[in-house]
């Protein structure tokens, strides 16, 4: 049986290529039908903020690429409740359908996956 991998994405979309490179790991694994999850943690939750205008920074729109996750079979998507709260983001405004988890649930989530990679 394939090993499951949780990708923890901790960087804002405007903070260099980390957010995109975390997404690329997910999309590459999805293309191989691997059991994957993706958790947006700390500044990573900014990737889910609505109404972003990356063109102003001459950047591509990461939010559009994130929408591809379910199409690539990556449907286990999570965000940390405390990270959202700290940054003033409301769960019902996010640009991706994620499960919002409290800290205890985060620990259980990480425990559930065979392997974890954090970017």
């Amino acid at each position: 049986m394939a090993k499951s991998l949780l990708i923890i994405s901790r960087q804002a979309p405007w903070a260099g290529p980390s957010a995109r490179e975390a997404l690329d790991i997910a999309l590459a694994g999805g293309a191989f039908d691997l059991p994957l999850g993706m958790l947006f943690l700390d500044d990573g939750v900014f990737q889910l903020a609505p109404g972003q205008q990356p063109v102003q920074l001459q950047q591509k729109n990461l939010a559009a690429n994130l929408q591809a996750l379910p199409m690539f079979g990556v449907e286990e998507l999570f965000a940390a409740s405390s990270s959202l709260q700290e940054r003033g983001l409301a769960a019902d405004t996010l640009s991706l359908p994620v499960q919002v988890l409290d800290d205890a649930a985060l620990a259980a989530l990480i425990d559930r996956f065979d392997q974890v990679v954090t970017l």
């Binding site: 090993k3 290529p17 980390s18 490179e21 590459a28 694994g29 293309a31 990679v117 954090t118």
Partner: protein, 130 residues
């Protein structure tokens, strides 16, 4: 035990040195390294153009010697490497860049190699990252 080792930090970061020391210790302890995978700023450790001061650790040189001596499968992510100017001769020619800085033993390949390594290993060990 079979290890897949991923390196995300640049050559000068402490985590990159720990990655090398871990890899050396793993082999010394009779374990197997399925693959080394260099991603994000980790691709800089594969650059043949790093010049370390004489009295400092030359991590890229150590990696190169280690990978060659142990004949390890050492993959540098092609997308991450192109973005950071780490090119082998073929890519330098393809993109008409003035120099190549990724000599053997490194191989350029895609992220599928990271997943394949993780699937074939008992443990995925990541160094660096955020």
């Amino acid at each position: 035990m079979k290890f897949a080792i991923a390196v995300f930090s640049p050559a000068h970061a402490p985590s990159s040195r720990r990655a090398l020391r871990f890899a050396q210790a793993a082999l010394a302890g009779g374990h197997e390294i399925v693959r080394l995978f260099f991603y994000q700023d980790g691709v800089h450790s594969a650059s043949g153009n790093v010049v370390a001061p004489q009295d400092e650790l030359d991590l890229p040189a150590e990696w190169r010697a280690f990978v060659s001596a142990q004949q390890l499968d050492a993959v540098v992510c092609i997308a991450a490497a192109l973005r950071r100017g780490v090119l082998n001769a073929e890519e330098a020619q393809r993109y008409q860049r003035p120099a190549a800085n990724l000599p053997p033993p490194w191989e350029l390949s895609g992220l599928g190699q990271l997943h394949e390594a993780a699937q074939g290993a008992d443990r995925l060990m990541c160094f660096g990252g955020d």
